[in-house]
Amino acid sequence: MANETTGSQWPLWEVFTQAETGDPHEHAGSLHAVDGEQAIQNARDVFGRRGKVVSLWVVPAEAIVASVPSDAGPMFEPGNEAAYRHPQFYKVPRGVRIY
């Protein structure tokens, strides 16, 4: 049996918690667990002790694909500069409520 060794690190999971229904799931931290059930239970005990959690996601850390720091310029700066994507870019007559 290949996996019957001790001392090997358990897989890492990233934990996302939702404080109230309707809120987004936010990253709370990470933990080690051998499977999803254990990850959910540990996440409940580690990040949900104070009762401000209504929903949990656990995701194997290796399943997350992340941008790298060197990408930051090409990936994000063009978007930041697109002022026309922000409502303040558009002028409307004074005194008119448009929403």
Binding site: N3, E4, T5, T6, S8, Q9, W10, G29, V34, V68
Partner: protein
């Protein structure tokens, strides 16, 4: 501790280092995948692992009184507090792992007696009053430290500290409440409280680390915003906060030199016995051996449990592959 020189002074490294220091100076956070000087990484691993170990070893002195807590409310709140310490150790180990070191490696060092943790936990909890005084002094000192660490430049550490500070708010209040109630209690309770204060005061002041004049790591840690204030500054802040709290519950702090200095607005305190500090750091405190042995025993005795969980997960994975 000897460290290899920071930079081999290639032009590329010098450029990266300059950019790194500029980011820190601008108040940016450093994230795991960002470039960082090797010494920054090592200093963080050193500090964060010591912090995580302290939370875990810190479970033992207080855990010593859970089964004997004098009321159901005290039992529950102490259990919740010690549980938080396990949780906080967990947060910080995870944050440390983002620097490329595994929790298992860190635990191996702790169990081999090679890792440091806060020396305060090498002192024994002799009476119930110790539980109150630890909450008041030791958690009080920790809060002074951690509030500052929550602004540290390394993102994962700062985030863990913010979470910990929020959760630890109640620890100090719990401890101080225990002391306040005992200070109004029977003569035996008052004596117990004063005795605990006498024993914990000086070790608590030592928690902030050696004086600035003898702290080898401080300059660089400050420049890289791993620390934000010096050991002596934080120690003074703690003393200033604590003296009025002691007066409010009629407890004497065991320092004949303690006196208010109106010019600085600070409480001046007497000389700390740094010989004791260094002796305990080097392993000669009352309980260094016992504390490490207890954590090691828990880990060793649990090896078969961890192996079972791994084996079960492997079996399940194999079965689902076979079924597919």
């Amino acid at each position: 501790m000897t460290m290899t020189p920071t930079v081999q002074s290639t032009p590329e490294d010098a450029t990266k280092l300059a950019a790194f220091e500029a980011r820190i100076a601008a108040g940016e956070h450093i994230e795991p995948k960002d470039w960082m000087p090797e010494r920054y990484r090592r200093q963080l691993i050193r500090m964060m692992s010591q912090h995580a170990h302290s939370e875990c070893v810190g479970m033992l002195p207080e855990g010593n009184w859970i089964t004997r807590a004098p009321s159901l409310r005290r039992k529950m709140t102490l259990l919740a507090k010690v549980q938080d310490e396990a949780g906080h150790g967990h947060y910080i180990y995870c944050a440390t792992e983002t620097l490329g070191v595994s929790r298992d490696e860190l635990l191996d060092e702790l169990h081999a007696g090679k890792a440091k943790y806060s020396s305060i936990f090498n002192y024994p909890t002799l009476t119930w009053a110790d539980i109150g005084v630890i909450g008041w002094f030791v958690d009080g000192a920790a809060i002074v430290n951690q509030t500052v660490l929550a602004k540290a430049s390394y993102g994962p550490y700062a985030r863990a500290m913010i979470r910990i500070c929020k959760e630890e708010n109640f620890h100090k209040r719990q401890g101080y409440e225990i002391c306040a109630v005992m200070s109004q209690g029977t003569d035996a309770q008052k004596a117990m409280l004063q005795d605990a204060v006498n024993r914990w005061w000086w070790p608590s002041l030592m928690m902030f680390g050696p004086p600035d004049s003898a702290s080898s790591n401080s300059d660089e840690l400050l420049r890289w915003k791993v620390k934000r204030y010096t050991n002596d500054e934080l120690r003074q802040r703690f003393v200033n906060l604590t003296v009025p709290q002691a007066q409010a519950i009629n407890v004497a702090l065991p320092d004949p030199d303690l006196a208010y200095d109106p010019t600085s607005g600070s409480w001046r305190f007497g000389a700390i016995d740094w010989n004791e500090f260094w002796a305990v750091v080097k392993g000669h405190g009352p309980l260094n051996r016992e504390r490490v042995a207890a954590r090691k025993a828990a880990h060793d005795d649990g090896a078969w449990v961890r192996a079972a969980a791994e084996a079960h997960a492997a079996k399940r994975a194999a079965r689902s592959t076979a079924a597919a």
